[in-house]
């Protein structure tokens, strides 16, 4: 893993070996994953890698070469490869956008997570968690420590560096008859409560035994933060100018228009202390905090450099990929919390279905935000305001343009949920949600 000083030296080294304007991106990761299945450790891995990507420009021509061979010879070859490639590429649409040198915050998380979640620490935690898995049930999952490094720099002296640790955990507890419960968590700051997730998964699996078939058609559903976050990912993925220009976004022609219910407000905000502390994007632009959806209105699209230039606006600092192929992606999604607790939302639902998690969700049609997927790891009937019988796996097919207009309750509690990045997501109640086939 490169530290800040070494990263800066590598960038200077690489940019000095080309006569062209050059941008360098370094990604480093030291990842430890302890995977368990059937209540024993099944895979236990440590991976260390650092790659350096060099993009060189000549007018409207650009070419990129990357390598993880960071020897003197390897880095020299990198510059030769990039320059050689550049000589043969035709002009593109834009000249280089020099890296921004505008100051951004830094928030290191101090390596405290690394101390607690090393190989031995992870094994001990999983062993302790397994103590909460009852006879007749087995647990599977993974506990991951990922120590990430990102550094950017160019031949004009720009330099950015970020290093942070991420701990993520997921588990599924399964009864011999197939009933499942799940728990998952992620943190960049303090140690997440792994044992609580084991307990939650165990309790859900117990409640999920002996399921009844679900009825197809329209239902009132209460979605956990995990399930709601899954749906939000698809909406957020296409809320950018490239997706709009390419015809793959519901937001085409909808900027400033009300497309969702008035109770839905979503913003992207890297400054939230619990979310991923990466304050610049892969084009070196400061990551802007922006309202995305405000009271159901599409307030902002996200722009990388090229799309921003095309549309005559400023980039928003959300470029997720080094050459912008994906467009701009929100990595820190926050949904405005409601006023009722999840327990109150369930208590005020006469009849419905509670969904703990969706599985294999996918676009059917991104233009109208039609999504399909299946329930997983615990779905229950709600009867007279109480969680009732578990239901068998069932598939939904639904347009989020409809579903997000029919949100009738949002919980006051929010949870950190993995999606495009990490979001802070509440539970919601949605009316008229369609289940379309039984598993």
């Amino acid at each position: 893993m490169l530290d800040k000083k070494t990263a800066e030296q590598v960038i200077k080294n690489v940019t000095s070996q080309t006569q062209n304007y050059a941008q360098v991106r370094i990604h480093g990761s030291a990842q430890g994953t302890t995977r368990f299945a059937k209540s024993e450790i099944s895979q236990n891995v440590a991976i260390t890698d650092t790659s350096v990507a060099l993009t060189v420009f000549n007018g409207k021509k650009e070419a990129t070469a990357s390598t993880n061979v960071l020897t003197e010879a390897g880095l020299a070859q990198l510059a030769k490869d990039a320059d050689a490639l550049l000589a043969h590429v035709p002009e593109g649409e834009f000249e280089a956008f020099p890296f921004s040198q505008e100051a951004v915050p830094e928030r290191a998380n101090g390596g405290a997570l690394a101390q607690s979640f090393g190989t031995a620490g992870r094994a001990a935690l999983i062993k302790e968690g397994m103590g909460h898995v009852k006879d007749g049930y087995t647990a599977s999952g993974a506990l991951v420590l990922d120590q990430k490094t990102v550094a950017l720099g160019d031949s004009k002296g720009a330099f950015r560096f970020a290093a942070f640790d991420e701990v993520s955990f997921n588990t599924v507890v399964t009864h011999a008859d197939g009933a499942d419960g799940a728990g998952e968590c992620i943190s960049y700051t303090s140690a997440p409560d792994i044992i609580a997730q084991f307990k939650k998964a165990q309790a859900t699996a117990e409640a999920a035994r002996n399921p009844v078939p679900a009825q197809l058609g329209a239902h009132t559903v209460v979605l956990s933060p995990l399930a709601f976050g899954d749906l939000l990912t698809f909406m957020a993925y296409v809320l950018n100018a490239k997706a709009v220009d390419d015809g793959f976004s519901f937001a085409a022609g909808k900027l400033g228009q009300k497309v969702f219910g008035e109770n839905l407000t979503i913003r992207d905000d890297v400054s939230h202390p619990e979310l991923q502390p990466l304050f610049f994007d892969m084009e070196s632009n400061p990551r802007q905090a922006l309202p995305l959806i405000e009271k159901g209105i599409v307030k902002n699209l996200l722009y990388d450099n090229k799309r921003a230039a095309k549309h005559g606006v400023k980039p928003t600092g959300h470029c997720a990929q080094m050459w912008g192929g994906m467009g701009a992606i929100p990595l820190n999604v926050l949904v405005e919390a409601g006023t009722s607790s999840l327990a109150d939302i369930i208590a005020s639902t006469p009849k419905g279905i509670f969904v703990n998690e969706f599985h294999y969700t996918n676009f059917v049609n991104p233009r109208n935000l039609q999504i399909t997927g299946l329930t997983r790891n615990g779905a229950f009937l709600i009867e007279d305001g109480k969680l009732g019988a578990p239901i068998s796996t069932v598939r939904f097919t639904e347009s989020l343009l409809d579903a997000f207009c029919h949100i009738t309750a949002i919980s006051s509690e929010r949870e950190k949920v993995s999606g495009l990045g990490i979001g802070l997501i509440p539970a919601v109640r949605i009316e008229n949600f369609h289940f379309t086939s039984k598993a």
Partner: protein, 493 residues
């Protein structure tokens, strides 16, 4: 390199490993993308490193690094991780019996894609662009449209060296070529794309053989047609799936559920499980030998064939040093076998089927598909069509989803061609969606295209495992007819 790997394996033994192996992979790639006639990405990359797997006391440890000089430390790290894994070990791992292997292998390459001049590659994409724009410029649309094109040519080579503590030492070199063409028409309210993607093992001759400009012309015509076509009707219809949808049908509803690690629960918390159990394996003397699980109709024979020419799952040895094999998964409708690796095969009393594969050097080998192919039948496409009173041909996958146990699937395609009274009417529909349950669906298969209609489709992005591994697999199939397929979701909406 051989001396270094031999020393690493000796060190693993000296530390106390029961068994260890190491994979060194040097992966080079070139990516070229054009959007709307302009080059948007030109890149070359190299990723080199090694992964060391150690079994100690029946527990597994794996460590990977990209600095060759650190290999000794990485071996120690893998061993230490294996020791830590013993903290929670109930069933010590048992690898199957395998003879030490020595060998070399290389993908047959006539023209090295990395040596082909950039100008020649760009010329192909520019010809595709011209073909597409030519169609759209002359097409008469009822309403104003916008147009988008996207094209990729990607090339990859993998140099792989494998060694283990049993004395194996294997060198393999792979080369693959990818082409992708997208033609998109955008109306005020809708977007429709026709695309072609294929990935083949081999040299640049594979790209030339794809005849991309001609395909691009056809894609542009169909994209123009479906943007103004009605939605595909909902109901129960007879359907022919082309190989460009069959690959996904096979992948999701046969490939994944027959992976033995899923069956045994190793992917329960991530990629999912399988409706199959080890009890479904027709071992000699078992109940299933006499009463096999019926997976599909007698028209359905599907194999995992690591010898298939051009396939992304074609090799001489897998990433555990096990020789390539052809395993029959379904024989005339009867379930006959799982895909296995060394650490799982013993659960069904077998040796590995040669499906232990890792994504790059960073990852542990896990059970992965090789080339999961459906064997051809005896019908021409016109004979398949002739057997349908009213139905559709569904072409090119657009959307996919299947449940945790690989039972309930729902797939969408890009285009439906109407069939009436045994003939194509020429009418097309957009947004065809169909759904079903795995064994019921395969049981409804009553006709399979002959060898002339058989096509191999490469899948470059099969995700599985934690950390996520993206694998490259292939699926061969012919146009295949299914009866009474549920089409659309209007019945419950």
């Amino acid at each position: 390199m051989k001396e270094q790997l031999t020393a690493a394996m000796k060190l693993a033994c000296a530390l106390g490993a029961d068994f260890a192996d190491v994979r060194v992979k040097d992966i080079r790639s070139e990516n070229l993308r054009m959007e709307n006639g302009l080059v948007t990405n030109t890149a070359r990359s190299r990723s080199m490193g090694y992964g060391v797997r150690v079994y100690a006391g029946g527990a597994l440890g794996f460590a990977a690094g990209n600095v060759l000089e650190d290999m000794e430390n990485v071996v120690r790290q893998a061993y230490d991780i294996a020791k830590a894994s013993q903290t929670l070990l109930k069933n010590p791992a048992q690898l199957d019996e395998k003879k030490p292997a020595q060998g070399t292998y290389a993908t047959e390459v006539k023209t090295d894609p990395f040596a082909v001049p950039m100008a020649e590659k760009l010329e192909i994409l520019q010809q595709c662009e011209k073909a597409i724009r030519g169609v759209w410029e002359t097409h008469s649309f009822a309403t104003p449209m916008k147009f988008r094109t996207g094209m990729n040519l990607d090339f990859r080579s993998d140099g792989v060296i494998f060694a283990d503590t049993d004395g194996s030492y294997i060198q393999q070199d792979f080369c693959q070529c990818t082409a992708r063409i997208e033609a998109t028409v955008i109306s005020e309210t809708d977007t429709q794309t026709r695309k072609y993607i294929n990935v083949v093992r081999g040299g640049f001759e594979g790209i030339v053989a794809m005849d991309l400009p001609n395909r691009a012309h056809g894609l542009a015509q169909e994209a123009a047609a479906i943007i103004e076509a009605p939605d595909c009707p909902s109901g129960e219809f007879d359907v022919i799936l082309t190989p460009r949808q069959m690959f996904l049908q096979i992948h999701e509803s046969v490939g994944h559920p027959t992976e033995l690690d899923r069956v045994l629960g190793s992917e329960a918390a991530f990629a999912g499980r399988s409706f199959l159990t080890t009890g479904d394996y027709p071992a000699a003397g078992s109940a299933r030998e006499k009463d096999p699980l019926i997976y599909g109709s007698t028209h359905v024979t599907i194999v995992a064939d690591a010898h298939c020419p051009g396939g992304l799952g074609t090799f001489a040895y897998d990433d555990e040093g096990v020789p390539a094999q052809c395993i029959t998964l379904i024989d005339k409708g009867k379930f006959t076998g799982f895909q296995t690796s060394r650490d799982y095969a013993q659960a069904i009393g077998q040796n590995s089927g040669g499906a232990g594969i890792s994504d790059g050097w960073r990852n542990l080998p896990i059970v992965r598909m090789t080339n999961i192919n459906m064997l051809p039948g005896d019908k021409t496409l016109e004979e398949l069509i002739a057997g349908i009173e009213y139905g559709f041909i569904f072409d090119e996958n657009k959307s996919w989803s299947i449940d945790d146990l690989r039972n309930n699937f729902q797939f969408a395609c890009e285009i439906a061609h109407e069939i009436k009274d045994g003939k194509r009417t020429g009418a097309v529909f957009k947004n065809p969606i169909y759904s079903g349950k795995t064994t019921e669906f395969w049981a409804s298969c009553d006709g399979v295209g002959n060898p002339d209609t058989w096509e191999l489709v490469g899948v470059p992005n099969c995700g599985k495992g934690q950390p996520m591994q993206m694998m490259r697999v292939s699926h061969g199939s012919s146009p295949t007819r299914f009866r009474k397929v549920k089409v659309g979701v209007q019945d419950v909406r």
